[in-house]
């Protein structure tokens, strides 16, 4: 089989997803959209794609996610993923759109796989420094992309979505292919660094910070987790994961001005 004919494999935070059942256009779309995150490693999760013909109605729902043990049913924007996560075999039903593996659906799947491994996927940007990675978390307009733009020569893992995966009793901040206004950043699947601190951002005209107690840090992080939280079991697992992250690294509230002073300020804090 020629490489161009092989099912593409996409690696996010150490998990390799193989996407089979695509035509040439679909494979090309995946290869382009997830450039930098394609992998030659053996797949952990196999996604078998089936197209259906009806254009889905936009019913305004963000996403529905049902999990029963290892069984998963995820529906978002007309894309449906179902199957057994433990077995690593899932079916992906896609509407008749050019996009095959829409980032919204794929991000939700990645977030769920990561959560099952004790990690968490956050609405955050991250910048690598000499000792690891600072993660900057916050809602839209809080300054995540601004931080990424200010990074200069420092590596940016994402300006929008960061995966925190467990590693050696701590966490590593991992690049993801889910970007924001900054567009794709020059990272790849292996782009990761030890998590050294978690900041909750707000734009300002000055620099100020405050160390957060774990309760407040978890409270702020919870809305920034990329998963539907309407199920009690899901919410419990998210709380447990955030509890562990906030116990592992210091968390701060950070007001920042859009200037290069950000880096000396943050370096002095954490």
């Amino acid at each position: 089989m020629r490489a161009a004919d092989a099912p593409p494999r996409v690696e996010v935070a150490g998990t390799v997803f193989e996407v089979s059942g695509l035509d040439a256009a679909g494979r090309a779309w995946v290869a382009t959209r997830y450039r930098g995150f394609l992998s030659a490693r053996a797949p952990d999760v196999r996604l078998a794609v089936t197209r259906y013909d009806e254009i889905p109605e936009d019913d305004g729902r963000l996403a529905t996610l049902e999990t029963h043990g290892d069984e998963l049913e995820l529906e978002i924007g007309g894309y449906r993923i179902e199957g057994n996560l433990a077995a690593g075999r899932l079916r992906l039903s896609v509407p008749p759109f050019p996009t095959v593996l829409t980032p919204a659906a794929f991000r939700c799947l990645c977030a769920l796989v990561l959560l099952r491994a004790g990690g968490i996927m956050l609405h955050a940007s991250a910048v690598v420094h000499a000792r690891g990675a600072w993660v900057f978390c916050g809602a839209s307009e809080s300054g995540k992309t601004t931080v990424a733009h200010l990074a200069g020569p420092r590596a940016v893992l994402s300006d929008e979505t960061i995966a925190l995966r467990r590693h050696d009793g701590g966490y590593r901040a991992c690049a993801t292919p889910f970007f924001g206004e900054a567009g794709p950043v020059p990272t790849q699947a292996g782009g990761e660094a030890p998590l050294t601190a978690l900041f909750f951002l707000s734009k300002s005209t000055r620099f100020a910070h405050r160390r957060l107690a774990r309760q407040e840090a978890v409270q702020r992080a919870f809305p920034q987790v990329f998963l539907p939280k309407r199920g009690s079991a899901m919410a419990e697992t998210i709380l447990a994961s955030l509890d562990a992250v906030t116990a592992a690294v210091p968390c701060f509230e950070l007001e920042f001005a859009a200037s290069d002073e950000l880096w000396s300020y943050v370096d002095a804090v954490a």
Binding site: Q219, R230, S232, D243
Partner: protein
């Protein structure tokens, strides 16, 4: 005429919550809202186990926290009212059953 059994306040089983140090977070999954609880509120939440009555809860708090009984009673009553209004705990009467 028999004396009515005191109300008990079982937490709703489907409400996720977690203690963090001495504080706690309770999730209202219907709206995705988090309720942060300070140490006293977190203790009241823990004590809403469906087995304890209001008087039992006040008794425990009075032993564990340095405050006047009247203040503890007033604060506990207010907080439990808030929890019931938010449908995070229920009001149970009658004999205690297995698991509250």
């Amino acid at each position: 005429m028999s004396t009515p059994l005191p109300d008990r306040y079982p937490r709703r089983r489907q409400v996720p919550w977690r203690t963090l140090d001495t504080e706690a977070l309770v999730v209202d999954v219907s709206g995705g809202t988090l309720y942060p609880l300070n140490s006293v509120a977190a203790r009241i939440w823990e004590l809403c186990d469906g087995a304890r009555s209001f008087e039992d809860i006040v008794h425990v708090l009075a032993h564990e926290f340095d405050a006047e009984d009247a203040v503890i009673r007033r604060d506990a009553e207010r907080f439990i009212d808030e929890l019931t209004a938010a449908r995070l705990v229920e009001i149970a009467t009658g004999p205690r059953t297995e698991g509250g």
